[in-house]
Symmetry: C2
Subunit: 154 residues, 2 copies
């Protein structure tokens, strides 16, 4: 595994980041791909969203259970989205703004500046969308369209 590029983001500290980018549409960031991968972005601009895989480079521990932002209860690491996980791979769905040469500009940002990028995939609703889903311990926080206070830092 090797970084294919880097995220340039206005977020310099973990504590400023929303728990997921979808809860803060105003912020923009971009990926600066290594030049040799620039041609790999061809036709990506025809998609509205991308799946970014990146490396949680500021996490230096691997938990097996963890306590999420939204509640004090502990859950298995594979039932939460904590960075302190085996292999430290982060995943976010982002909104594509534009592609220019080796740069992919996007909104719905929840990554630190300098984050190493591992992969970019097109978000394909025919493959990646699911209806009638149960979301475990999270459902009570988002019940009836509620957006919990703690999704964006104060």
């Amino acid at each position: 595994m090797h970084p294919i590029g880097q995220i340039r983001s206005p977020y310099k500290r973990s504590k400023d980041i929303p728990i997921q980018g979808i809860f803060n549409n105003e912020v923009e960031a971009w990926i600066e791909l290594e030049q040799k991968y620039a041609a790999g972005l061809k036709d990506l601009e025809d998609f509205s969203h991308a799946i970014l895989l990146y490396y949680f480079h500021q996490s230096h521990r691997e938990d097996i259970e963890g306590q999420p932002f939204l509640e004090p209860d502990k859950h298995g690491i594979f039932a939460i989205r904590s960075p302190h996980r085996p292999n430290h791979i982060g995943l976010s769905i982002v909104k594509i703004e534009k592609v220019e040469a080796n740069k992919l500009y996007f909104s719905q940002v929840d990554m630190l500046d300098g984050t190493p990028v591992l992969d970019i995939k097109p978000y394909v609703r025919y493959f990646d969308g699911r209806d009638n889903v149960r979301c475990g311990w999270l459902d009570k926080h988002f019940k009836d369209g509620n957006i919990p206070d703690r999704t964006v830092p104060k």
Copy 2:
């Protein structure tokens, strides 16, 4: 990066696999996690779906552009889901059937038997679902609810 477990799947050859697991609900598979990660599965069974990240261990090349299953046109590697991509990370949304000790049983399978697993994340529609999306070169194949012939091998 290291495997946290392995996928046990009925698919022994790439050519038998549907292009995405969602198009074949009947098949079941399971992840056999390394014992030391078993506690990480706590509470995952309360979710209906999981995001699996795994290693395309049968791919030994990195393309910058590629031709997808569904059409002859070439696209940038980051606009298709080909395994022959930088870092060879695969991503699938699967339906959770049950969790037993260090085993996660699931359907909507599109991985080869023996595939090394890198991460398991809960699928959270509040973070991962998107409406009103454009899916580039794929939209014409899935227009008006069409499911293309080539999504499942004959």
